[in-house]
């Protein structure tokens, strides 16, 4: 594996992509979970398919189309749910399917051979190009810098929005920033696990980290580490077994999460029983 990383540029790209996606997972996954925006993130990821299809139809880099659609749907969900009586969840459901439908339509209308969409739908870490690494690095840098700049205000907003508003903080600005950061992060993750599996990569590492940490800073760092480990193990399995990398990463991380959850629950139960016996 190490030889492959040293000798093949596609393996070096895959490694770099895994690291970048892990950083994004730590930050964006934590924000989405704590702000209860996971379902919306799923909608954004799927809506981006419309933009990817549009990119193929018009003939520009599909991922920029995906980014445009993702940010657009995120802003639309946010504004409509605030300014109308429509619930964000309903709007998410509509844009989820509408984006996919548009993507299918645009690709069908694209002249020539129909492009292979599996890498966008299910991810393919082994096919990440140099160009993709550049935009992934750029998007990750934007996310990290913005998050670090606003870290303390962001934490107050995520934990207790009402308090932040009553204290006079500009919560609308923070909301706008979050609703733009999430789609940018999703576009980074799509290259690794694809549109359909993005939500799992956003949630599983953060959920595991939350089992061990009582500070959000640690959750972000630990979930990034978990995400990197899962991505690298998925990459290794995919390389040696010649099976889809996105599916490997998600199946492996889900199994790890369930095992950790079961072990932790078992330990807590045993500890509780010992305490009860001691009190008796």
């Amino acid at each position: 594996m190490i030889n492959a990383i040293l000798n093949y540029s596609f393996m070096q790209n895959a490694l770099m992509a895994a690291i970048l996606a892990s950083i994004v997972t730590g930050i964006i996954g934590t924000i989405a979970i704590e702000k209860k925006l996971i379902s919306m993130s799923g909608g954004i990821a799927h809506a981006s398919f419309g933009g990817i299809g549009f990119g193929y139809l018009i003939g520009f880099e599909p991922i920029w189309g995906g980014l445009f659609f993702a940010v657009g749907s995120s802003v639309l969900i946010s504004r409509l749910s605030k300014n109308t009586k429509m619930k964000a969840d309903t709007m998410t459901g509509i844009l989820w399917s509408f984006g996919m439908a548009l993507g299918i339509l645009f690709i069908a209308l694209t002249p020539g051979y129909m492009p292979d969409m599996t890498s966008y739908l299910f991810g393919d870490i082994l096919s990440v190009s140099n160009n993709s690494i550049i935009y992934m690095a750029l998007f990750t840098l934007v996310i990290v810098v913005v998050f670090l700049m606003l870290y303390n205000h962001m934490i107050v907003y995520l934990f207790d929005e009402e308090y932040a508003r009553a204290r006079g903080m500009n919560t609308k600005l923070l909301e706008w920033i979050i609703y733009i950061m999430i789609p940018i992060g999703i576009i980074v993750l799509i290259r690794i696990v694809g549109i359909i599996l993005t939500i799992a990569l956003m949630t599983i590492p953060v959920s595991i980290a939350k089992l061990f940490c009582k500070s959000i800073k640690r959750v972000i760092v630990l979930s990034s580490v978990f995400s990197a480990v899962f991505s690298l193990i998925g990459l290794t399995l995919s390389y040696y077994l010649n099976i889809p990398s996105g599916a490997c990463i998600i199946i492996f991380s889900t199994l790890v999460y369930l095992i950790i959850l079961a072990v932790k629950h078992g330990i807590q139960k045993k500890f509780h029983e010992q305490k009860v016996h001691a009190n008796d």
Partner: protein, 229 residues
């Protein structure tokens, strides 16, 4: 000598769509007093506190707060996501954070000291490194009050601080609030009448409109008739 008025509600009305929570509310609150806001569910207690804290704007009338005073709002305990990974100290520290969103706004040691002092003031010194999910309901409520103290708010607004607390925890909490009256103006919405009336200087009875009682004794007399809130 009469204290000066810090909060004024003048003919205030607020409606949620077509349902009016409060109508034509008029009252004034003086500084360094404890005012309890009582009334039945849906009577408009929380709406008054939210209007006061700037979380809602009145449909009609004016809510004025003396511009020299800052408000610290303590929401109902059920509003908190206890799974949020944050330590007690970090939560209290967030009370000292600058309001204006500036890049790289970091905590200084003086703010950390203030957070520790606030925790000690509410009897939670030494609990700073715990996660918020490791506190009891009463401790969490006191920690939230510590956050308001750390923010140097002059007016503390508490929405049902005693909900889901047992009798002892509620008594501890009201002890803490009573001690704060020396330098804070406090408004408390509550259903626990005995405890809250014991520490109040005045009572606002809200049921869509509002009646101000200058002494808790008057309210106790009125409620002696068997009114259930």
């Amino acid at each position: 000598m009469k204290n000066r008025s810090v909060i004024d509600f003048d003919n205030v009305r607020f409606c949620y769509d077509e349902v009016c929570a409060i109508r034509n509310i008029n009252f004034s609150i003086e500084e360094n007093t404890i005012t309890s806001i009582i009334g039945p569910n849906g009577g408009g207690k929380s709406t008054i506190l939210k209007l006061l804290s700037g979380l809602l704007s009145p449909d009609r009338g004016t809510v004025s707060v003396n511009e020299k005073y800052t408000i610290g709002y303590v929401s109902q305990i059920s509003d908190f996501d206890l799974s949020f990974p944050i330590t007690v100290l970090d939560m209290v520290l967030s009370g000292t954070l600058c309001r204006q969103i500036k890049p790289f706004c970091r905590y200084k040691s003086i703010q950390v000291d203030k957070a520790h002092d606030s925790l000690k003031r509410v009897g939670l010194g030494g609990h700073g490194n715990r996660g918020i999910n490791q506190l009891s309901g009463g401790e969490l409520k006191r920690a939230v009050i510590a956050r308001v103290l750390a923010s140097d708010a002059d007016i503390i607004v508490l929405d049902e601080p005693d909900s889901s607390l047992d009798v002892d925890a509620a008594r501890d909490l009201y002890g803490v609030l009573s001690d704060l009256k020396r330098d804070k103006t406090i408004l408390i919405a509550s259903h626990h009448l005995n405890e809250v009336l014991d520490i109040s200087d005045q009572v606002l009875y809200v049921m869509s409109d509002a009646r101000m009682f200058r002494s808790p004794g008057e309210v106790k007399k009125m409620l002696g008739g068997g009114i259930i809130l």
